[in-house]
């Protein structure tokens, strides 16, 4: 009996379950509507190649949104980090030096965002909108508006490590993205920094009176997101072996969509990283999937919109509360409650 309770309770608390179901249903639909494509392994390898940069960005953005902030500047970091890497690589023929400097560039952008948001108290949507334009501007200016090919990065170790093909087929970046998802899950849910982020997003004043250094935590958060976005930019640049000054443009809305359909609320205070993981794969699979079904390219956006709306509605309607309510009900069907054990309504603390 108690084991039963435990299992159902666990189901209710399973993170990202609704959106995981959406992803599964979506793939099942694709398998039936486009069997020639979705029963082979190639399409999945292609998703594992294209989704990771977006997923990595979405992981960082989940933290930002959990803290009750927003960051619109990460697409510019994708471009800036790509430029720093290619330029340093071309000029000094070092891969790891280029890698570290690219991440450092992301940290600088994040630090400046942090200064604006945490120190000067500029609302993050305004601050990062401005820095987004600024850093794209900087990148285009110093790159002279030109793209840079780095085909000679292909034989290097860094290329093999981050975007190589395991067993000749499996893209390494998918494992990096998966590993980062696990790492960030532990940081958000099991580390004191993650707890501070959640409390700040929930109510910054509570966090402050409970002794959390709100300003420093916000700084750290933006720096972290800058570094994450730079890493995503590196995955992108390494995969396509070319830097182009507008890279990352067009990623803002899909990445935000991935976070929101994953179940993270814009209100802050809670982040669902498992949902973000599934959400990124949904967003990244839709276009190819819809095209493969043969209904025509003009349908892509319409179907994307429908799936996003359905996911968001699902999260709101049967979100975490709904699921735990469901599991409570299921528990009651299994083990009828004694008549006097009423659900809490009169409070439990009468001394």
């Amino acid at each position: 009996m108690s084991r039963m309770k435990f299992r159902l309770g666990f189901l209710g608390r399973l993170e990202g379950l609704p959106i995981g179901i959406v992803l599964a249903v979506l793939y099942i639909v694709f398998v039936f509507t486009a069997p020639s494509v979705f029963t082979g392994y190639r399409i999945y390898m292609s998703f594992f190649q294209t989704v990771p940069p977006m997923l990595v960005l979405a992981l960082g953005l989940t933290f930002i949104i959990t803290a009750g902030e927003i960051d619109l500047s990460f697409p510019a970091v994708v471009a800036l980090a790509g430029f720093v890497f290619t330029w340093v690589f071309k000029t000094f023929h070092t891969t790891w030096g280029a890698f570290v400097l690219a991440l450092a560039a992301g940290a600088v952008v994040g630090y400046i965002n942090g200064l604006l948001v945490a120190r000067l108290r500029v609302p993050s949507i305004m601050a990062t909108l401005a820095t987004q334009f600024f850093w794209y501007g900087v990148t285009i200016l110093i790159a002279g508006g030109l793209q840079i090919n780095i085909d000679d990065v292909i034989p290097t170790a860094i290329h093999a490590i981050f975007v190589g093909r395991l067993f000749g087929v499996f893209p390494a970046q998918a494992l990096w993205a998966l590993g980062l998802t696990v790492l960030f899950w532990f940081i958000l849910n099991r580390h004191r920094f993650g707890e501070a982020v959640m409390f700040i997003g929930d109510n910054a004043e509570v966090a402050r009176v409970m002794g959390i250094n709100v300003e420093a935590s916000r700084m750290r958060l933006f720096v972290m997101h800058g570094v994450i976005a730079a890493f995503a930019g590196l995955l992108l640049t390494l995969e396509i072996n070319v830097f182009y000054p507008t890279q990352g443009q067009g990623m803002l809305l899909p990445v935000m969509a991935a976070v929101f359909i994953g179940g993270t609320s814009i209100a802050g205070g809670q982040g669902v990283l498992v949902g973000t993981f599934f959400g990124s794969y949904i967003i990244g699979s839709l276009e190819a999937g819809v095209v493969a079904t043969g209904i025509g390219g003009y349908w892509v956006q319409l179907v994307e919109g429908l799936v996003m709306a359905a996911s968001v509605i699902l999260n709101v309607v049967i979100g975490e509360e709904g699921l735990s309510a469901l599991s409570r009900a299921a528990r009651k069907w299994a083990v009828p409650e004694p008549p006097d054990a009423r659900p809490r309504s009169r409070g439990g603390a009468s001394g």
Partner: protein
């Protein structure tokens, strides 16, 4: 040494003043709280109660004056919320004690997590202790509230119970309750007052701040009346009945007007 306190004092303020720019919020505050004494702090809106609380809890530094907590003289320049915790001062606020969307076990340990290496939280241990506090210290039993419940599921009185239980767990010597019963139903107020009685039973000191004279009268051993940033009266409970206290406060506010008119 002049700085050493008599052992029975939990807190002593000497000539504390606080200015915000040129606005004087607190003037000449001299206040002592004995160990295991509950002091009721009474005053109107804007009298300076909240400012005083924020100075005691390390949120703001005072402009001048000395602050002694237990046997320590506190340096106002380095005094912070964390140091207040370390010296055994805990605060229960009207409405900002708990993170609404967070599980209760997180709310118990926020800012003072029990951690493994690298700052990862020992969830098992935190939950165990939180459960212990809920059952033994504050007496939550059954009723569908567990350490995994979100704070938003609790009634107002229960939330204050959690905050008070948290304060008692962390071995506070002095618990400051800043208007803990505002916006609660009568029944919930009763619960909170019961929690405050537990503070006294546990041998701790407390400063209880409220608008409600009847509540303060029930709880406190001594009353401090504060007005326009100054302490204007200190009365032992034994010296006065609730009715007299009420009348005194009324008369006082009228008397003040008369004086101002002179």
């Amino acid at each position: 040494m002049a700085e050493t306190l008599k052992d029975q004092q939990a807190l002593r303020l000497v000539n504390i003043e606080k200015y915000f720019g040129s606005v004087c919020a607190l003037k000449n505050i001299n206040l002592e709280v004995d160990r295991n004494e509950i002091v009721g702090l009474i005053g109107d809106n804007g009298a300076g109660k909240s400012t005083l609380v924020k100075i005691l809890t390390g949120v703001y530094p005072p402009t001048s004056g000395d602050l002694y907590i237990g046997n320590h003289k506190v340096d106002p320049r380095t005094y912070s919320v964390t140091q207040a915790y370390a010296l055994g001062i805990e605060t229960v606020y009207q409405d900002k004690s708990l993170g609404e969307k967070q599980a209760l076990w997180r709310n118990f340990f926020i800012g003072r997590e029990i951690v493994h290496r690298f700052g990862f939280i020992n969830v098992r241990k935190e939950k165990e202790i939180a459960r212990e506090i809920m059952v033994n210290t504050i007496g939550f039993r059954g009723r569908g509230i567990t350490v995994d419940s979100r704070a938003s599921k609790l009634s107002g009185g229960e939330r204050q119970g959690v905050a008070i239980g948290r304060a008692m767990h962390f071995e506070a010597d002095l618990i400051i309750l800043d208007e803990p019963t505002v916006a609660l139903s009568l029944k919930e107020v009763r619960k909170v007052l019961n929690f405050v009685h537990k503070i006294k039973e546990a041998g701790k000191a407390s400063i209880y701040i409220s608008h409600n004279i009847a509540d303060v009268y029930e709880i406190a051993d001594r009353f401090i009346v504060i007005d326009r940033g100054e302490i204007v009266a200190g009365i032992q409970k034994a010296e006065i009945s609730l009715k007299e206290l009420d009348e005194f406060l009324l008369e006082y506010s009228h008397g003040l007007k008369d004086k101002a008119g002179q």
